[in-house]
Subunit: 151 residues, 2 copies
DNA sequence: ATCCAATAAAAGGCATGATAATTATTGGTC
DNA sequence: GACCAATAATTATCATGCCTTTTATTGGAT
């Protein structure tokens, strides 16, 4: 039972780090004149890359809850950046697409987001990235339910 | 300009991992019969270890905002787990202490929290922990404001 | 003693995360 | 073709994160 130099702290460290990243990105977006939250950006980014996606699919991809997606889409729709089109063949679903304004915002905000991403990663190496992914995935998997039933 | 195998994903990965940890811990607390959220636990833990701490000090230590601490303390006070005592020499401050019930809850919940922590870290090594800390701290520091003025 | 900037906490507003309950629709089954 | 479990989305509720404004108090300057 090696007691990992205060291994207790990993939750806290991840929590403070993600807050820092969020705050930095939010500040950068706001300072650049974008009326967007980080999560609103995340949805715009996904809709751009998967035009016509439904809300539940979007929820699954972004690891958000359906109610959260509903609310954020409401806001984005009010801002005129996203449209809820009817899906063909299933009247329960919506086909989410970006409006022209939404596409414009996407292209304008992308470089800003990319810059913050680069700034955060800084001079960390490719090897660091592989460590990072391995450790995060490992923690995630350690909490994953044993999927007894496969399809 | 090595393009780090989709280095873009680190925000997303940290975000999903911390959500997973939070959800696992919350579920474990609830299933064990504790009427506590993760953040309420975090404050109880800190008050236990720093008896008499003030709300702002608590906010700083936990990286939460003062308004957030006010609200969580309100809840913990209503639950009878925390008391707001008057600080000596400064009537603006409160001296936060756990009630007897609060102390009992602390001792009862601690092993549960520790178990989840161990489960999450799993078989990751001490070397992994050092990589983890180095990478997280590095990202954090990359966003830290250059503190031009040192006291 | 008086005024004033700074501090501790609270209050109000908006956005998100999570859960539970509800509505509309779908696809099967009998 | 009526019944019913499953699905997509919404609504409601509570807790948290962050920001701004306000109140009470403090300590120092004049």
């Amino acid at each position: 039972m090696t007691h990992h130099s205060d291994q207790r702290a990993y939750f806290f460290k991840i929590d403070t780090t993600i807050k820092k990243i969020r705050n930095a990105l939010q500040k950068r977006l706001t300072d650049s004149g974008f009326d967007l939250t980080v999560d609103q950006w995340v949805l715009i980014d996904h809709i751009f890359r998967q035009n016509g996606i439904s809300q539940n699919e979007l929820a699954e991809l972004t690891f958000k809850d359906p109610p959260t997606v509903t609310r954020i889409i409401d806001i984005l729709q009010k801002k005129g950046l996203v449209e809820r089109g009817l899906a063909i063949g299933d009247r329960r679903k919506f086909r989410l697409t970006l409006t022209d304004d939404g596409v414009a915002i996407y292209h304008a905000a992308f470089p800003v987001v990319a810059e913050i991403r680069r700034k955060g990663w800084g001079s960390l190496s490719e090897a660091d990235y592989q460590h990072f992914v391995r450790i995060m995935d490992s923690i995630y998997q350690n909490f994953a339910e044993p999927t007894g039933k496969k399809a």
